[in-house]
């Protein structure tokens, strides 16, 4: 239906029409007692370590929404390109969408230029995007990858700040994880030692932080390829609920069986020729 108050096509991108309405509604819901639902955060522990042959990234798998665990098997290590993976902490939707956009942009770039993207390019794209939105996109990311210039590990904060260091932890459990990393990190570690170190760092984050928990995922990126181990270690407190409630055939026993044959007699028969020319 054509509206006469629309004089030009609406601009694409973010639409701020409902902001003043939302602010007004916030205090009105049930007389100020009920609030708008909180977005799902990944109160998290994520960590990364650069070792001799590549980069090891690790993350826990709990996603919280307020005080409730919203997802017990959340995947926090996102694919960016065949040689780069990114762990995300902060608002779950923001990290998902940002890494998706980054991955799409890098794919277009590698198709038009015929080159594999470098980690610095991904970091610069992320930095521009996050700074443009002044931190309203709540995504703290650890980006790790192997390219022609070597093994790199970068962190990007929600306002667009970056840091390039050999070992990192982010999220609500980062202080606990950083303690383990500071104690036992050595430059040029072997791959297995690096995996154990990251596992221990995430484990200490899980033990010391309420927002992290459940399983540990590890992602190992080397020149030869990527090994995404999900889960690397499962928590001992798994619940025993079934996911599927479908019953096996034969669960209900059959008591009686009665067969009634339907007698059909041919009343009329017509033949229609099909033209297959």
């Amino acid at each position: 239906m054509a509206l006469s108050n629309v004089v030009e096509t609406p601009a694409s991108g973010f639409n701020f029409e409902n902001v003043s309405r939302n602010v007004a509604l916030d205090g009105l819901l049930e007389g100020g007692h009920a609030k708008a639902p909180k977005p799902m955060k990944t109160g998290t522990t994520i960590a990364g370590v650069v070792c001799k042959d590549g980069v090891v990234l690790g993350a826990d798998t709990r996603a919280t929404s307020g005080e409730v665990v919203a997802d017990k098997m959340c995947a926090k290590i996102h694919y960016i390109s065949p040689n780069m993976y990114c762990c995300g902490a902060g608002t779950a939707a923001d990290t998902e969408k940002t890494t998706d956009l980054l991955s799409s942009n890098l794919t277009i770039f590698s198709m038009t230029s015929g080159r594999n993207p470098r980690v610095v390019m991904a970091v610069n794209i992320l930095q521009d995007m996050l700074f443009r939105y002044r931190g309203q996109i709540g995504a703290s990311l650890i980006l790790g990858g192997v390219d022609c210039t070597g093994n790199h590990l970068y962190t990007v904060g929600p306002y667009g700040s970056i840091d390039n260091v050999p070992y990192l932890a982010m999220g609500s459990g980062d202080l606990a994880a950083l303690g383990i990393l500071e104690d036992r990190f050595k430059p040029n570690m072997e791959l297995e030692d690096a995996k154990e170190l990251v596992r221990d760092a995430i484990h200490s984050g899980i033990m010391s932080d309420l927002g992290s928990g459940n399983n540990i995922d590890i992602c190992v990126i080397t020149k030869q390829g990527v090994d995404y181990i999900r889960p690397y270690q499962e928590s001992e407190y798994k619940d025993k609920r079934q996911r599927r409630y479908k019953y096996r055939p034969g669960t209900t026993s059959i008591l009686t069986e009665k067969i009634v044959p339907l007698e059909l007699e041919v009343v009329q028969e017509t033949v229609q020729r099909m033209d297959t020319a």
Binding site: E8, A11, S12, N105, R134
Partner: protein
């Protein structure tokens, strides 16, 4: 390089374009088309990003052109702006969907994806404007 000077950093003298009362004919607000006016809603942007997003493309272009002018001389931005102006004229009437293919290729938008391509796609907008009014607005007759 920030060429705006110190005056623009004073809080109450930042020009808020697009936030003023919308004047229709006769210099007052057109109540029939845009509803009742509320001074508070019009003077202040309600979201932190509203203003910066509205002018983001313009500011980026300004910055890029001034850098280009400093590096290569005046001819470079002039030539580019001439091409943009020519490409911008290749479009359909305002109420129809135009592809902006030439303009997108010139600006480099065909090689990147951002929130402008995903959110609020004008091809899937739920509101359609009245064709005569849109053409009149575009031609400046309204």
């Amino acid at each position: 390089m920030n060429t705006r000077g110190l005056r623009s950093q004073l809080k109450d003298s930042v020009p808020v374009t697009g936030m003023g009362p919308q004047v229709g004919a006769y210099g007052v607000q057109d109540t029939l088309r845009s509803g009742f006016s509320s001074v508070k809603n019009e003077l202040l942007p309600s979201h932190v990003l509203e203003l910066s997003e509205k002018n983001f493309q313009l500011n980026q272009d300004k910055m890029n052109f001034s850098t280009l002018r400093n590096i290569q001389g005046l001819h470079a931005p002039l030539k580019l702006q001439m091409e943009y102006r020519a490409a911008r004229q290749i479009q359909r009437l305002p109420f129809l969907q135009s592809s902006h293919l030439a303009l997108d290729t010139l600006k480099g938008n065909d090689e990147s994806i951002s929130f402008e391509d995903i959110l609020n796609d004008p091809a899937q907008s739920e509101m359609m404007g009245e064709p005569h009014i849109m053409v009149e607005y575009k031609l400046g007759m309204m």
